[in-house]
């Protein structure tokens, strides 16, 4: 535990500084009754915070997010231990649509647009739980189109036929349409052009600052994620192995080595990667 001291101090400061909107306490998740995926994960998201959840493929990021938004049952998975509190309510007792109504929405990994609906209809489904009238929805639709002009161009196209990136924008836009208090973003940058990645994270920051929306984002693009997040958790094989302030994580040697790709002498070239089995120190 190389970072003991660091994460001690920082996590304390975070938890005390602000009210928490989401807290996950020591959860275990099992798929299909036999596949144990999360082995005691705990994390908290403060109100108005942006928290990044990092980790390799298969670490369990998606699973964690789904546990939070209560979508696991649709995948034959279940939370067998621990509790999840959103706005101090037990998530497990709420239905997914109730959660959305209360302001917690997930952008699912791998886009999941409604293929047969047009882009605009897709966006409108995001407003399903809203009760504040046509005008407000219309205004938000405009807002989303302003964030993603590309979507405005393709608004009448069937989502199933749009390009991968367009679908990703659509999925994010759809979530925004519900006016959430908290967004669970699963790999928002996947498949997006670099320019757009920046833009999306800018949007995240704007929403966070202007509207006070909290974020929990699972991301592979550690660089960007840690740039925008306030706090980060690193998940490996179903366990949190490291957590801390984003800044502190960015400085951490291991994180640098394995997630940011910057050694002492700056960025490594992909061409020159040596073939050796690396080992993460914290797994020792």
């Amino acid at each position: 535990m190389a970072l003991q001291d660091l994460d001690q101090s920082s996590s304390d400061s975070v938890t005390e500084a602000a009210e928490t909107i989401l807290s996950v306490n020591n959860i275990e998740v099992i798929y299909d009754h036999v596949i144990l995926v999360l082995k005691g994960v705990s994390l908290t998201v403060p109100k108005g915070g942006i928290v990044a959840l990092l980790g390799a493929n298969g670490a369990g990021k998606t699973t964690t997010l789904k546990a939070v938004s209560n979508l696991l049952s649709a995948e034959r998975g279940e939370v067998t231990k621990g509790t999840i509190l959103f706005d101090s309510d037990e998530v497990q007792a709420l239905s997914p649509n109730e959660l959305v109504r209360r302001g917690c929405i997930q952008v699912m990994e791998g886009r999941h647009c409604f293929g047969h609906l047009s882009i605009e209809e897709n966006l409108l489904t995001g407003a399903y739980t809203r009760k504040d009238g046509h005008a407000a929805v219309k205004a938000d639709l405009e807002m989303v189109y302003n964030y993603f002009p590309r979507l405005r161009e393709r608004r009448q196209s069937q989502a199933g036929y749009t390009s991968g990136g367009e679908q990703q924008m659509c999925a994010i836009g759809r979530a925004l349409m519900s006016r959430p208090k908290m967004i669970l973003l699963d790999e928002p940058s996947m498949g997006l052009a670099p320019q757009l990645v920046e833009e999306i994270f800018e949007i995240v920051r704007q929403l966070n600052e202007k509207e006070g929306v909290s974020f929990l984002l699972a991301e592979q693009n550690t660089n960007v994620a840690l740039k925008y997040a306030t706090y980060g958790y690193i998940l490996e094989s179903g366990r949190i192995v490291l957590d801390g302030d984003a800044k502190a994580l960015r400085e951490n040697e291991d994180v640098k080595e394995f997630y940011l790709g910057v050694g002492g002498e700056g960025r490594r070239s992909f061409r020159n990667v040596k073939h050796y089995k690396r080992r993460k120190r914290w797994l020792a």
């Binding site: 938004s69 649709a74 109504r101 999941h112 647009c113 209809e121």
Partner: protein, 317 residues
């Protein structure tokens, strides 16, 4: 031979115009009735991507409940109200017991579950109502029963059954109402979303439970209307379940997801089947109605694999 196939039928149509009109009328009525059954399927398919095999038995079930209540002394209109209530309970039960635990499963599994439901309802229905056929309480419900003959001078006559006219009117009203409900409300959009992707629909806050209860209830109402109409033509009995198969080609021809498709498909099949059987069926010994509908549907499909009004099948990598 060639004459029999290509010329004679048309000569016949010309020679007996009254008969031809009658055939068209029968085709129309049959089409409307098929469309009614298909409509029930469409509702549920549209809303969940589930092919509801139990629609046929729901028709029987609704009809039997109505008649059964009436037989036990409940006045017709009260029985109707109670039957609607029963369909509501059924819808809720199905949602609770079958659909909810099977969310996000492949279509074929859900299809299979509805087959399980069919079995259950057959057993339950016969247990409660017995297997005897019952007569539809057409008159008690205030539906017309007579018939009108339109004469063409000396060229014969066309007989229109009033109940058939009523069926057509009811079908059209129902389609209009459902069409408006599903297209003009946000529920309509949500339905299609659910059919595309259960999990994503959940994630944007669409309550599958609520949606499913609604559509199953709507399908139950359609089943009741269908049960009354078919029951008035023959009897309300479990044999009626078989006519549900007739809805398949209609459905496929119209496209699984289209309410107008059900009507248009029904009419095409209705007309095609009657004209085919009456003018060409004799050539091969008759009874071709049992498969003609499928062949008609198949021919259409070869040109439009998603049916006439169905949503495009998305193929993209």
């Amino acid at each position: 031979m060639l004459y029999d196939i290509f010329i004679d039928p048309f000569v016949q149509m010309y020679d007996m115009p009254d008969f031809f009109l009658q055939v068209l009328w029968e085709g129309f009525v049959a089409g409307i009735l098929y469309a009614l059954i298909a409509l029930g399927f469409v509702l549920i398919f549209k809303a969940s991507g589930v092919f509801n095999f139990a629609q046929g038995i729901m028709v029987v079930f609704a009809g039997l409940t109505l008649v059964g209540l009436n037989e036990n002394g409940v006045p017709a209109y009260l029985a109707l109200a109670l039957t609607i209530g029963a369909m509501g309970i059924l819808a809720y039960g199905v949602e609770r017991v079958v659909m909810r635990p099977l969310v996000n499963q492949p279509d074929i599994i859900l299809l299979m579950a509805t087959i399980g439901l069919t079995y259950f309802l057959i057993g339950f229905g016969e247990f409660v109502f017995g297997g005897e056929p019952k007569q539809m309480i057409t008159e008690e419900l205030g539906l017309p029963t007579g018939s009108t003959a339109i004469e063409f001078g000396d060229r014969g006559l066309v007989i229109l059954q009033h109940i058939d006219i009523a069926a057509a009117v009811i079908a059209v009203l129902m389609v209009a109402a459902l069409g408006i409900f599903f297209n003009k409300t946000r529920i309509g959009r949500a339905l299609r979303a659910v059919a595309d992707d259960h999990q994503a629909a959940l994630s944007v806050g669409i309550s599958l439970n609520q949606i499913w209860a609604i559509v199953w209830f709507a399908a139950g109402l359609v089943a009741l209307a269908t049960g009354i109409m078919w029951g008035a033509r023959s009897d309300v009995s479990f044999a009626l379940e078989i006519v549900a198969f007739k809805a398949l080609p209609v459905l496929i021809l119209g496209g699984f997801t289209s309410i107008p498709g059900a009507i248009v498909g029904g009419l095409i099949i209705g007309f095609g089947e009657k004209i085919g059987e009456l003018y060409w069926g004799g050539l091969v010994g008759g009874g071709i109605e049992s498969w003609l509908a499928y062949i008609i549907a198949l021919i259409f499909l070869l040109f439009r694999p998603q049916g006439l009004f169905g949503e495009r099948i998305i193929e993209r990598v």
